[in-house]
Symmetry: C2
Subunit: 540 residues, 2 copies
């Protein structure tokens, strides 16, 4: 396993006191690598492993640069800022001197997390980190103690869910950039709120992805739903692994992020002897040992395989927790009777009872939707290793019209669903606005600057809904209207029935925090029985 | 996990006493499936899981048939015989009534195996199973107790290493077919020799592969060196898994095969929660519990990952043993100083000492040839889990001219290499003819009937040797001469220096069998030290 510097970033441009900046980039097939800034250029020297580096006197914070590989210029893969967008130059940024005030902050025990997922662009009218910080009173009053921020890596344009990011180290400029995120984390910690950051290590967005120009970041050994897979186990994969491991370490060390939510790790294709996630765990453990701080690794994983969350000693990858969409699907089908696409695998209340008992609904059964036997049992994994929700950005936004649960079920059913999640022996997660029964949709939106690509997304979106047999027209993902329509309507929370719903959520969260039986998720003490005839679920 | 019938084959055409034959085939996307034989046809009925089946009165052993899917005819994927070659009709074959005489046979403990790899077509002038049986005296006198037969699944034409097989259940007709193999196994058991069969579950040959016409046997999620990967974890993969699992069970149950050697399992791409090999292990264990017989699963695996060979209780896949090419490479580089292609990763004697100590030479180090950190340590795996050799079909035949070790090193060095293998704490394997220092090459040969394909193989072969910087022209793989040139020259064994070499091998094997310290491989008691200056390796 490769050595990784736990103390600082080594990729891109790094600053140090009383020394010139250092530039380093991985380009194993290049013959010459130059860093170009202002009217100046410096030739980098080859290092072991395909890296190139050099001190760059004169390049200071705020300076803009590109790398030139054998005559062609590209932004820095490890860029910390892209002030002119994904195609423009990278900007030197100092992320190591933020005046932190959270010295007394201690990341709460994972089992006490009550999560709140939000999208920076639509959580507030302003769509910035600063605007989130201005709403912390609301979150504190609600009672949640961890926000989970959808991906903030620089994406094309200013409107995107975040999964089209192409600069994993650069914080989206329109959200407030690196310093904006640091301010938000500091403010959250001051209010007792942990920060979970959603990061995408399984694919790159379709526009502004220059990684391939630098080296074999991708492999054609595997295909993912988003094209060729990132190279986690083929020749040269260690540099790709290091690129993402140093990224994770940066968020924890330099941004004080408490936990990462790793997007779709089933699409991290790695058949090598040491899985990428296992290696990541090792280095994060190393960082934690050095700093004395605690950081969690949470995964989204569509495999129902405990290997991901089992401890390293049990030959697992040591991830701390995972989303379980199946709990959602069972709950959703129970509440709405929906049966289209992947919901067709879920029977309703009997499956919901199984989710309470076994976490995985499919732990070895034939899945008619997947056309295969699916999953293995998870009897030994504690409740805090599973994150449940009544809805999330995907389950809302992947509907053609982006309807939240509030548009699909009655107020009373919303309350029942909230109870199902908040009183469960798993970690509950809210989706922004559900606490007041927000009525605005959360639709799919992009702002690709490449017109052809934008049109392809438009068409792809239409095609996708063939599977759902949805009626009507999909909203135009490229239109700014679609984005604006998806913003929370904060005024609602003072109106009925929203105000009552908000009080209901506050009360439930309060109960979860105060009742010993609910405070920490203990799966072993929970019995769940389904009475299908009366659509009755008994938990005791 | 799916249920698998341990008692009999369920796929293809099966015979039972006093009942009509049954035909069954998996074709999940077909609208109509018909079995066509003589002038008769029977329509199959759809079963669960995409299978189709029907009783077929009138179809008896020897009858020829094809399946017709929506109007197009193809041979049976689970055909037991292809008397007219890979494109012709399948033939009903009774493999369950062979008059076995091996009732008292007991598969030896794996740790006592002394393996002998052979290729049926070139082991003898006749190139048949019957001709192998006629040479058992030689093998008994030599002292080996297990032959490993290169793949016998029906391939195009009559000349092939076996890795181009396209009917995993059909024994190559030109070798003697199913009954010929059964006779050979029976004869081996009568002489105290176990039989290991090499099977290919990771790809299909390029000619006569009709699997894709029947259903999603392949997936485009993964690529292998031989094209699209067999579908072990995608939608419908359980039927593909069952196809191969029933195949393994057939060899053990109906052919009394003692062990399977699973070709290149690193190319069995399976990221699901239950790896195919783990499922296979479970069903083979089930069969063993039913019959009271022992069967071993041996793998070829290029991952240096103990997960494959660790016991199921330790979350391994439970394979019994694996080839370790790295021991060979270290030994070869020590003996010959070769440094081309993958040999470039091996330093010679220091790496050989490491192979004795650690089995895997690369157990976490940077591999310059692979351009990545490679492998994990295997401290807990006993010596019998590793199979070593001075040469094998690949290490000889993948050379441009197919030179055996005997053409590359002195007689004395051959003896030293033999000692290195036969006195090792691992399972030794000989490659046919090495015991007398055979001088004939073992070259790459095919007899594809598709002219375009044959030419592509010719060109591919030439291109391949760019990496080895070999001089001269590659022998024509399609020419019958190349095949004939590769046959053993049995007369040599009575001539010098071959007769002496043969006695040397006999003596070494005798020592291994008689000396308690050598009889069973015990890695824990072996110390290996390399003195690089004097090119000296001390084992004690």
């Amino acid at each position: 396993m490769q050595a990784i510097n736990l103390h600082k970033r080594t990729l891109g441009v790094t600053l140090a006191p009383n020394e010139p900046a250092t530039a380093r980039v991985w380009a194993p097939e290049a013959m010459e690598v130059v860093i170009q800034y202002d009217e100046t250029q410096t030739t980098l020297q080859a290092e072991e492993g395909g890296y190139w580096a050099a001190p760059v006197p004169g390049l200071t914070a705020g300076g803009r640069y590109k790398f030139r590989l054998d005559g062609k210029e590209f932004p820095d893969p490890a860029s910390l800022a892209q002030p002119e967008g994904v195609h423009g130059p990278s900007q030197v940024t100092d992320v190591t001197h933020f005046p932190w005030t959270d010295g007394s902050w201690k990341n709460p025990a994972l089992g006490s997390y009550i999560l709140y997922e939000l999208h920076t662009g639509t959580f507030t009218a302003e769509g910035t980190f600063a605007a989130i910080a201005a709403q912390l009173d609301h979150l504190v009053a609600l009672g949640v103690n961890a926000i989970e921020i959808m991906p903030v890596a620089q994406f094309p344009g200013s409107r995107n869910w975040g999964y089209d990011g192409v600069f994993p180290y650069a914080v989206q400029d329109s959200y407030g950039g690196a310093e904006g995120l640091q301010r938000l984390v500091d403010a959250c910690h001051a209010r007792g709120i942990a920060v979970v950051l959603d990061v995408v290590y399984n694919h790159m967005g379709p526009e502004g992805n220059y990684l391939g120009a630098y080296g074999p970041y991708f492999t054609d050994k595997y295909q993912t739903p988003w094209g060729a897979a990132l190279n986690f186990d083929d020749a040269w994969s260690d540099a790709v692994r290091r690129f993402f491991i140093e990224n994770a370490l940066m968020w924890f060390r330099d941004f004080h992020i408490d936990a990462l939510r790793l997007d779709a790790v089933h699409a991290i294709k790695d058949l090598g002897a040491v899985h990428f996630l296992r290696e990541l765990r090792g280095h994060v453990d190393g960082l934690m040992a050095e700093t004395g701080r605690t950081h969690y690794l949470i995964i989204e994983c569509d495999l129902n395989d405990t290997r991901f969350i089992d401890p390293v000693e049990a030959r697992g990858f040591g991830m701390d927790s995972q989303w379980i969409d199946e709990f959602h699907h069972a709950l959703r089908v129970t509440a709405t009777g929906e049966q289209s696409a992947y919901y067709s695998d879920f029977s309703g209340i009997a499956h919901l009872a199984k989710a309470y008992r076994d976490a995985y609904v499919y732990d070895g059964q034939w899945s008619e939707h997947r056309k295969k036997y699916f999953g293995i049992p998870a009897p030994a994994n504690p409740g805090e290793q599973f994150i449940v929700f009544t809805q999330n950005h995907d389950q809302v936004g992947n509907r053609m019209l982006g309807e939240r649960t509030s548009s699909l079920v009655s107020v009373e059913m919303q309350k029942l669903m909230a109870g199902a999640v908040l009183l469960s022996p798993f970690l509950p997660m809210l989706w922004m606005g559900e606490e007041w029964g927000e009525t605005a949709p959360f639709q799919y939106f992009v702002s690709h600057t490449d017109a052809e690509l934008a049109e392809a997304v438009r068409q792809g979106r239409k095609k996708e809904f063939a599977a759902f047999h949805a009626e009507g027209e999909a909203p135009d993902p490229v239109s700014e209207e679609t984005f604006n329509r998806s913003k929370l309507q904060w005024a609602l929370r003072n109106q009925e029935p929203h105000a009552t719903m908000l009080r209901f959520y506050q009360t439930l969260i309060g109960l979860r925090k105060s009742l010993p039986a609910l405070r920490t998720p203990d799966r072993s003490t929970v019995q769940a029985e389904a009475d299908e005839e009366h659509k009755l679920l008994t938990l005791h």
